[in-house]
Point group: C2
Chain length 699, copies 2
């Protein structure tokens, strides 16, 4: 690459015509059999966001465009530009073989030294002789070249930041052939095998693959409580102690087994400890630069104490908003309860919809607001890497998810039903002020079961509809609207092929970005229903199992059809969700005994609930839970893990090779030293032996 200092003249140079046909990704080209192809497409907004001067904006747009192309070229990437539509300019990015090879090489060496990559790097170190390069790794590396800073030989293009304010996003095109194959395979088999997951990982990267791996693993594990639940439902009484104990144990064991599974996957996929080589987030605000204690290079630094101070500021805000949300939710729940159970006045039929209206008006808006605040606070906490950032954001947002999904069950189970009569009387006297009559009917455990059923059944079907059917409908509507508007899209394709390609890009650019958080949150909330509440309705696990079998496929469809192809990222675990799983299992040690105590047919405690007995019960079960979990962990750590064996055997091989190389040197050394001195005791050994033992004989 020539390195002219003038940025604009650089764009004029024809060295773009260089490059190579022997691309590592030729197979993809061959598949599509098209000459037109790009690794990534950088989308530029042509319409100004603010009402700036039009001419100025155009100038800025051209500058950005040149800057992008210059940066890409400097980073060793090839670029081409096309006007895509009225609103977007497309800049195509392609990475040729030798740039990619260099990147793969560096990345693999870095991985190896950071302990991410387990497999030893061969001495002759041809990338081809090494592992094959999966699609996901290639695309991840190209994406990294585009986004990493110029000092690290990247292009430093981060959408919306700095000079690249007008860059809207970096688009990765769907691979239709792969998608078709994928959905076809998965919809025709029950069990997703290890190879299927590997193929998925090779295409979408580890982050997406982990989600499907977890969902699949959870599905398989759900079979056990499904059977136990069905058996309980058919033969045992309600609120079975047997079932409650089983489900609590199952939760503990499941979480521990997943922890191990997750670790094994991270080793097999070569992503263990990947966060050690993670780059800083582009929006990370350093306090100052300090020399790295290891490499001596200057690196951005943000004091952990300041972060903790910021977290200390953020925590009360989060707590306050959670409380606001809780109060709103309780208001809705109470309204719901009053309307369905107590209120008997005029307009009852019409007022029945009041709670739903109140819910729709308040909760989503509040939740959205909460999410915004959480995002802002998380940005403020200034995490160094993307994985830390996401971890903390997920934890913050999961709080609201948990409240929305579970608060009403907690309220009905622990307050409303046990104190039903008192609450009824209170509302009775309240309504009497307005001269309204109230019916007080005792509410039994079936009310709790209905609530749970609503969440497990209705909730899941709803969300399935929202995920799959709704986008189709919305898009059909949008197409209808477009047709009425009769707008023509102007692009500057040079030929038929290009025109079709640009059209496809326009279509995919309209799709939303895949949000993995939503999908995880759904599954984890469901796990909560199974572990926390399924003692109320033992068919919960079966319902969850059926839902997940569908979910596994519907999420695949969503990923292929309804969203942009996600940019492959690495991950070495399901991240924050493992912590949430643990938290839920711990909560299950509290909910299960107290539900059993309150509602078990023989105890009928909710009519005469003794707080002290319940507290003692919870105190005991919580400690038993801790002990059981400790034992399960200890037992599991005693079983050798195949992943650990793999790591060790790789290390052993490296050691062996090193020893073989060094063997002659060692031998030489030893022979040098084999010149004797004199043995200090200097006696005939047999003689001493005789005097020590034989003399003893003569005694």
């Amino acid at each position: 690459m020539s390195k002219n200092s003038d940025a604009v003249s650089q764009v004029n140079s024809t060295n773009l015509a260089q490059g190579t046909d022997k691309l590592l990704f030729h197979q993809i080209r061959q598949k599509g059999n098209k000459d037109i192809f790009a690794d990534y497409i950088i989308l530029l907004r042509t319409i100004p966001t603010k009402s700036t001067d039009k001419e100025e904006h155009k100038k800025k747009l051209e500058e950005t465009c040149r800057k992008v192309i210059y940066s890409l070229e400097q980073a060793g990437l090839q670029a081409e530009v096309r006007r895509g539509s009225d609103k977007l300019i497309f800049i195509f990015v392609l990475c040729d073989l030798h740039r990619l090879k260099r990147e793969v090489e560096t990345s693999r060496i870095n991985d190896w030294f950071a302990g991410v990559r387990v497999k030893d790097i061969q001495d002759d170190n041809e990338v081809e002789n090494d592992e094959p390069l999966p699609d996901s790794e290639r695309l991840r590396l190209v994406y990294e070249i585009i986004t990493k800073p110029v000092q690290e030989k990247g292009a430093g293009i981060n959408p919306g930041l700095g000079d690249f304010e007008l860059v809207e996003s970096i688009l990765l095109l769907q691979d239709d052939e792969y998608n078709e194959e994928w959905i076809k395979t998965w919809s025709t088999k029950w069990i997703i095998e290890k190879e299927d997951l590997l193929r998925l990982r090779n295409h979408f990267g580890e982050k997406i693959a982990y989600y499907f791996a977890f969902l699949q693993y959870y599905c398989v594990w759900l079979i056990v409580p499904s059977i136990v639940g069905l058996f309980t439902w058919l033969t045992l009484s309600e609120y079975s102690i047997f079932y409650g104990v089983s489900i609590a144990l199952w939760s503990i064991v499941f979480v521990e087994f997943w922890r191990r599974k997750e670790y094994e996957l991270s080793v097999w996929w070569g992503v263990r400890n990947y966060s050690r080589v993670e780059r800083c987030r582009p929006t990370f605000q350093e306090e100052y630069y300090i020399p790295d204690p290891i490499t001596g290079e200057n690196k951005p630094y943000f004091s952990p104490w300041r972060r903790w101070l910021r977290r200390a500021v953020a925590a009360p805000i989060i707590i306050m908003f959670s409380l606001t949300l809780s109060v709103t939710l309780l208001f809705y729940i109470l309204l719901n309860v009053i309307m369905s159970d107590y209120y008997d006045g005029p307009f009852r039929e019409e007022l029945m919809y009041l709670p739903t209206v109140a819910y729709c008006a308040l909760v989503p808006a509040l939740n959205m607001f909460y999410t915004k605040i959480a995002r802002r606070l998380n940005e403020y906490e200034n995490y160094e890497t993307e994985s830390y950032y996401e971890f903390n954001l997920s934890q913050k947002i999961f709080i609201s998810n948990f409240l929305i999904g579970n608060l009403s069950i907690f309220f009905i189970g622990w307050i409303y039903i046990p104190f039903n009569y008192e609450i009824g009387q209170y509302f009775g006297s309240f309504f009497e002020i307005f001269g309204l009559s109230v019916t007080i009917e005792p509410v039994g455990p079936e009310r709790l079961m209905n609530e749970l059923k609503y969440f497990v059944l209705t909730g899941q079907i709803m969300s399935l509809f929202m995920e799959i059917a709704l986008p189709y409908l919305l898009r059909a509507g949008a197409v209808g609207v477009k047709k009425i508007q009769r707008t023509t899209t102007k692009d500057d394709a040079r030929n038929e092929d290009e025109s079709a390609f640009l059209k496809r890009i326009r279509k995919e650019a309209k799709l939303p970005v895949y949000d993995i958080f939503e999908d995880y949150a759904e599954i984890i909330t469901q796990f909560g229903y199974v572990s926390l509440f399924s003692v109320i309705w033992p068919l919960t696990p079966i319902a969850a199992l059926i839902n997940n079998l569908v979910e596994l496929r519907s999420d695949a469809i969503k990923l292929c059809v309804h969203t942009r192809r996600p940019i492959p990222h690495r991950a070495d675990s399901i991240g924050p969700w493992l912590e949430n799983l643990e938290l839920l299992t711990w909560l299950s040690a509290i909910t299960n005994p107290s539900l059993l105590y309150l509602y078990h047919p023989t105890s009928k405690a909710f009519s005469s609930a003794s707080l002290i007995v319940m507290m003692a019960l919870i105190f005991c079960t919580e400690h038993i839970f801790s002990i059981v979990r400790y034992i399960v962990r200890q037992m599991m750590s005693a079983i050798p893990s195949s992943a650990d064996d793999y790591i060790k055997s790789q290390e052993y091989n490296a050691k062996k090779r090193l020893l073989e190389k060094r063997a002659p040197a060692i031998k030489r050394q030893i022979s040098n030293q084999e010149k004797g001195g004199t043995w200090t005791w200097g006696n005939d050994l047999e003689e001493s032996l005789r005097s020590a033992i034989h003399d003893y004989k003569t005694e």
Copy 2:
């Protein structure tokens, strides 16, 4: 070494006269300035344990003797034999330079690959160019050669096992010069520095050094609660909430800081993960041999499931014995209480000693029996390595230690004082049957304080006396007895020097082996008093601090004068004691709030204790404790650890070296690939740019 198959003729060979003067440990020789020296001395019992035939025993003794010498020689060690006393034969073991070098070399390479050793091994790999060889490492390696099995090129001599039934022990002689220096240094300074600990580690090995490091660290940390305690005692009321909260927080933070300190020490001392290279215990009973998944070599295997089954068998026995011990202790405590507080009948003066007599008759015997059972069970559980074995044994024995040290305080604080009146009435009616009168006086919190004071003050002074003064007295007594018996010791020293040397060995062979468990147990129990109960008597930390300052020196004296020199072993932590510390901090989250609730001057709850308030309190504080500990851990993980930096910088250096070596190869590769193909888009970039943006201008 020649390898004649005939064991006995081997002994006759004179190749022992080979060897070398240029010993790595010549400095030790020079210090003593004596020609007579040995690394280890193997002690053989000449007196038969069972009443076997005398001639037969002699034959066996000779065989063992020859076998030992043959094995040592086969392992490349030099041996010499002397009759030491009537009861013992001494076999001196010396390891010459080249054998030692080979061992150091292998050991360091193994360590490096297992991740124990952090520092990279140099290519030119002369041991001398590498780190210096500390005394402890040399002696550890020589000990390993003596004990490791013949297949691994060791001598396979394990006292009391197999062919070596008559071997009593392997003795390591004290280094008087070092000891003198050590005690002199430590007794003249207050703070033990890092260098002092390093010197200790270089002499006694990491296991001993960890104990002193922990004791020193704990001492320094005790200053904080000492000041807070003194302040509380002087200015605040009894059972101060401020003090209770401080001490609970202090415990959490201390344990977490020690965890980090311990890790850092393990990195600096090069013993992190050392258990990965640990050898099997000689008494480990394999089920069968399986090929190692990594190396393919056959290795002994014992199914973890079977071990868990055995643990499941052992657990109830341990629990049963703990209960028995508890009941016995409670019996003693009750007796004590009756005698001191209630009993008012005849012979009161004489019967006052009854509890002490009962205690002395029952508890030590029971404890000894329990220890024996625990040892037996631990052997039955069949742990693979010494560190696992010790870990589990310590945990078992600590249970009885904890009960003996704490049960009476628990009883008096939580049962006796709150239910004082009821217990008094019960005993009153009981004694009335025998026609004895009883005085019921209300017992206040001062009774609890006295109990704690007894343990903290009297207990510690007692144990100090037992550790230091008693052995002197006992030995003085023994010498007296010996003088009366007037036995002459027969040895076969060849000259004056040897005679003095043998005399010294005889003296040291009589000393007991240093038991690190006792010392740890004492300190951890004391930590228990500070964190669990010091809210009763805020001067506890000061008393502990003073005791520990003495203990730190007195343990040094004990180690130098009253025990054999311990054989250096590795350790990468204080092992099971960290777990016990954690357990105690967790318990402190229960004891502190309940003590405050029961005895705080404003609550006076012990007259009208409300169980539910106390339970709610404990429930809350326990969860707050968990959260606080979680936060502390998170905060600490955010601070970069200098040990981690050290590890990373070593890794980085290794990486750099490798990259430098490989750089030419990479360059060659790249240049090979810098032959261009054609760039598929194949257009003039400026033109496309114009049509994409400039056309937009004309719109």
